[in-house]
Structure formats: structure tokens, C-alpha cells
Amino acid sequence: MIAGEQRIRAAFDAARAEGRAALMPYMMAGFPDRESGLAVAAAYADAGADLVELGVPYSDPLADGPTNHAAATRALAEGATLRTALEACEAIADKVPVVLMIYTNMVLAHGGGEEFAKLARAAGAAGVIVPDLPLGEDEGIRDAFGAAGLAMVPLVAPTTPDERRRRICAVAKGFIYLVSTVGTTGERGELPPELAALVAATKADAGETPVAVGFGIGTPAQAAEVGKVADGVIVGSRLVRAAGEGGSPAAAADSVAEFLAEARVALAG
């Protein structure tokens, strides 16, 4: 097992040993500004995140809904680059496994799979999610990440056919990111009723690899509901919104920490 994958798996195992799902908050690096992003990252590491999904701001994030898109736009306007995200990664990677979320074009712009993997590993990242690089496209990037000890976490969607889902699970490293609903990232009032069945089917294909669910989870109650069936729960847009409402780095950190504490309680349920 590769180095990054081991760290990720250890985090899921530790949560499981406590009888709960792992909590994985998402953040947008450099949002609403560099200092606030660093404060949010530190808050995640200190306030009970089992893993952190760290979004790299991108101009054209096709998998993201309005909240994360606007956050990326704001971060870029504040001067954020890949460097800003790697800096946040470095700051917390000793305390918690960090999974970078980056779009393909930025990987290519930074030299391709091999060169980008060096940068990510140097910053301490354990894994990478590339939301617009589905199975079958540019497998060289997946190979390069694997060779560098970075876990490439694939996505599975409700629309993914059964046979394809099995193939995705077979190449998954670290964990499988199961998209809860058909659509982009963002809070939803209700999670789809068929989610439990989808999680069960994915877990059956995944074997030992943990399955974490993201997209649409915006309340501690929803996190708890998903945590009953999945190995991990990813909370994104809700926390990005909290970080943006703070008005200062300290306030952003307080705001996300408060939500995380509630979510941890709910997950321990």
C-alpha cells in the first residue's frame, strides 16, 4: 500500500474503532482570503476532522455548484494559486491526512501527473481528487500519482452503471468518493431516499476500501444519517458558506469549528 493511502486508511480505521464514520470537511484554499483559509485549515485539524478535503481554487469548476464556484472566484480574485493551497496543506498535513481536490487543467499546467505529484507530496498531501478526470481519461495521471505515493481517489455517481462502478472501485486508492445526488456540489434540503441502497452497492464493490459520501450534506443531522451507512461523510458547501460569513480569519475559524463540533456529536450519536 502506498504511503498516502496508508495514512488515509488509518484515519478511517481510527473512526471505525470509535464506532462512527469519519468526518471529512472540505475547504476552499485562499477563501475568503489567504489568512482565513489558513485559519480554517487549522480549525479543521484541531476541531475533529478525521481527514481534510482541500479544494484548489479554479476558474471553471464544472463539478461545483454556486457556493464553491463563488468561493473559488473570490479566492482567485484575492490572488490565490496552487501555491496557496499547498501552503494550507503543509500547515496541517502533520496533524491530519489531506486530500487535495484539483481540476485536470491545473494538474496539466503544473507539469502533468508526475510533476504535480512531487509538489503535492512535498506539501504532505496524502491523496488527490480530480473531479473532471473520470476513469478512462489520461490514465497516465493515475499511474504517476500511484508511483509517487499519492492516493488517487475516484468518484462514483448515482448515474454510474454497475459494471463501471466495479471497475472504478477496483482502481480506487485511499477511499471512494460517492456522489450522493445527481448534480453539482451544494447543500440540499433532503438527501435522496435511494442513497442507502447506493452506498450498500458501492461498499459491496469496494471491499476493504472505505466509501465516503459527499455532495449535499449540510446539517449535522444529515451527516449522522449518512454516517449510519457510509464509512465517511464529506461536508463541503455548508462549511465554505460558514467560512465566508465570518468576516475575519478568527471568525471564519470559529464558525467552521462550531459546525464540526456539532457534526462530531451527531456522528457519535
Binding site: 476558474s59 464544472l62 472566484t73 487543467n105 499546467a109 473520470p134 478512462g136 448515474t159 445527481v182
Partner: protein, 391 residues
């Protein structure tokens, strides 16, 4: 016909969220089954003739020819129903969507021509239609917005980024991600994830098939050069495709030079861009060193796009086609020139091709074919605003 290409050399592919993969597989299979289906082709052929008004003329522009010193034929896509080549693709895709059982249609538009064409096809076939359009383009192309509404489409304003075609396309893709099970996305150019670049090319190649036949009928030989403007590149790939194996025919694409390549304010992804991913395919794009997509700049809303279709990037690399930029100023002057010489007001997009021709007359024997992709009525307000000319 061969299988649908997923890539052209390294370019193309499907760089999209996993949620869309099943729909792209479905669309690929549907197009493979449909594009040679006699029933579909009979229906499309009938509508092309009686509804779009095809074949469009190949017109020997005598005064323009005199001005440049050699014979120039204009392929009159401006005379197609709705005033541009966009209807060829929109109608073909709407018919395909109907066969696939998808009653909700979404589209993006820049100049508004693709939006109008899609709204038109949806009105004809009784399909629901939502067109995403940047608010800057809504301002520049007001008459087309009114046209779409009159045709029963909903125009969804996109206020992100530079509020032009790039953001409208992203918004349409996000809608598709959310509604993929009920919705067909009618992409307007030869861009996007596979199979779209092929689907759009196949539906636009009627331009080149007609032009090739008409040129042979008029002159007995093939043209020396085929010239077309290029943003995403649908009219260009449509007229190029049937000439690809005619090695003696030079294929010339003319892209948006904006304020000039050296200013950085342009849409010339093939001349001044880089290789990267935009809207689901790997191609020539305009991006910064961090990988952020840059805003394009062009007086013409249809060319105001920081990328181009993957087949064009491949044709550039192989040398089969050559691509050149023309500035805003050049396009505006060419719009005026063609209007005065021929009584044809070209779209600002097509004016780029005319401008290149005016600067690069054919040496020696033979003749040129230039794709006049659309009419310029929609651009009059922008023309007056930019040139200060008033009637």
C-alpha cells in the same frame, strides 16, 4: 462511416464529472445508431431542404473578387433559416434528442445565433428550451434575446466571470450534470467532451459537402483555399471536413485577434494559447501559468471564447490546416467593406474570415471559397458603438 472518434491525436477526450459519463456513453451510442439511419436522414434531409433552405448558394462575389484580384465564392450560410450555420447543428441535435426521448433541451449561446437556432428547432419539434447566455452578451445581442423569447425559449442569464460564452457554457454543463436523466444538452460548437466534437462536425459537414460539389460544378476543379472563421470552430470544421483528403486544397481558419495578440486581449487559442482542458476536452485554450482559464476578448460574441475544438488543434499540429488571427479593427473594417462591395452584411464572426482574405489575396490561378457563416444584422448596434459610424 467509421466509429466516433474519442480523440484527435492527443486532443479531445471526456474531462467531465463522473455523473455525465453514462449520458455521454448513451449519446455516443445514439449518434452511432442514428447518423446513418435512413428514417432520421430522410427527416433531416427534408427539413434541411424545406425548412432551413438548403443547399445554401455558393455565390461568386464579383466585386469582392475584383477587389482582391482573384475569384472568391461565398458559401452563403447567412441565407440559412435564422441567419447562420448554427441551425444545421441545432436541428440535427433536436431531432436526435427527440429520438432519445429527451423532451427538455438546454443550450449555451454567445452571439445568440446558436440560442436562436436551438429555440427555433425546439419550437418546431415542441421541445422545452432553456438557453444560457452571459449578461454581457445579452447586452451586446439584444435582438437575439428577444427572438429566443418570442420562439418560446427561456433565456437564463449568467452573471459569472466575464459574463460571456465561457461562463454560459459552464452554466449549461452544470445544468446538464443536475438534470442529465431528462435533458439533452445541444452544444453549439465543435467543442466539449466526446462525442460532441464529432456530433457537431457530422451535422455541419453539409456545408462542405455542398460547397465542394458546387465549386466543382462552377469551376470544374477544387478551390485553392477554403477559408472560415473559428471560435469553437463549427462552421470551419463543417466546411473543412469534406476537403480533408484533398491535399491540394489549403484550409485556413481565422480566429479572434481581439486588440492584437501582443496585448493579451484576444481569443486566439490556436495561435497564442496553450494545451489544456476546457469544457470537457483537451485542446488549444487560453490559460495562465497556474492553469486558470483566461477571459477571451473579441468584438464578435461568437468568437469570444478561450478555446477551440479538439480537431482543429490536431489539424494545426499536423499542418493540414493553418490558423491566423485577425483583430477587432480588421473585422469591423471588413464588415463595412463587404457590405459596400456586395450588399451583404456579414456577421462580425464571418467578417474575420473576410478580413483575412482582403489582406491575403490568392496568388496565381484558381479561386477561393469563403464560408460566410452568418448575417450581420445582429451586430449593427455593436458595429455602430465601436466605429462611431451612424446612419
Amino acid at each position: 462511416m467509421s466509429a466516433i472518434e474519442q480523440r484527435f491525436g492527443p486532443y479531445g477526450g471526456r474531462y467531465v464529472p463522473e455523473t455525465l459519463i453514462a449520458a455521454l456513453d448513451e449519446l455516443t451510442a445514439a449518434w452511432e445508431a442514428t447518423r446513418e439511419d435512413p428514417e432520421y436522414l430522410a427527416r433531416l434531409g427534408g427539413l434541411r431542404r424545406d425548412y432551413i433552405g438548403r443547399p445554401t448558394p455558393l455565390y461568386l462575389a464579383e466585386r469582392l473578387s475584383e477587389r482582391v484580384g482573384s475569384r472568391v465564392y461565398l458559401k452563403r450560410e447567412d441565407l440559412a433559416h435564422t441567419g447562420a450555420h448554427k441551425i444545421n447543428n441545432a436541428l440535427g441535435q433536436a431531432l436526435l434528442a427527440q429520438r432519445m426521448g429527451k423532451a427538455r433541451i438546454i443550450a449555451e449561446t454567445g452571439a445568440g445565433q446558436h440560442g436562436v437556432a436551438t429555440a427555433t428547432a425546439c419550437a418546431l419539434l415542441g421541445l422545452e428550451c432553456i438557453v444560457y447566455m452571459g449578461t454581457e452578451d445579452i447586452r451586446r445581442q439584444a435582438p437575439n434575446v428577444e427572438r429566443m423569447k418570442l420562439l418560446g425559449a427561456e433565456v437564463a442569464a449568467v452573471d459569472a466571470g466575464a459574463r460571456t460564452l465561457k461562463e454560459a457554457t459552464s452554466a449549461a454543463i452544470r445544468d446538464w450534470v443536475a438534470n442529465v436523466e431528462t435533458t439533452h444538452y445541444v452544444i453549439g460548437s465543435a467543442v466539449g467532451p466526446a462525442p460532441y466534437p464529432v456530433l457537431v462536425r457530422d451535422l455541419q459537414r453539409v456545408i462542405g459537402e455542398e460547397a465542394r460539389e458546387q465549386a466543382l460544378a462552377a469551376e470544374g476543379v477544387l478551390p485553392r483555399r477554403v477559408i472560415a472563421c473559428i471560435g469553437g470552430g463549427s462552421n470551419a470544421i463543417g466546411i473543412f471536413a469534406p476537403f480533408l483528403d484533398d491535399a491540394e486544397v489549403a484550409l485556413i481558419g481565422v480566429e479572434a485577434g481581439g486588440d492584437g495578440i501582443e496585448t493579451g486581449r484576444h481569443g486566439a487559442s490556436l495561435n497564442a494559447g496553450t494545451t489544456g482542458v476546457l469544457h470537457g476536452s483537451l485542446s488549444a485554450i487560453v490559460a495562465d501559468e497556474d492553469g486558470q482559464i483566461l477571459e477571451a476578448h473579441s468584438v464578435s460574441a461568437g468568437l469570444d471564447y478561450p478555446g477551440t475544438g479538439p480537431q482543429h488543434a490536431y489539424l494545426r499540429d499536423t499542418g493540414r490546416a493553418a490558423y491566423f488571427p485577425v483583430t477587432d479593427a480588421g473585422a469591423l473594417a471588413a464588415l463595412r467593406e463587404l457590405s459596400r462591395l456586395e450588399g451583404i452584411i456579414p456577421a462580425l464572426e464571418s467578417s474575420h474570415a473576410v478580413a483575412w482574405l482582403l489582406e491575403n489575396p490568392l496568388a496565381g490561378e484558381g479561386f477561393d471559397v469563403l464560408c460566410l457563416s452568418g448575417r450581420g444584422d445582429k451586430d449593427l448596434a455593436e458595429y455602430v458603438r465601436r466605429t462611431g459610424e451612424v446612419s
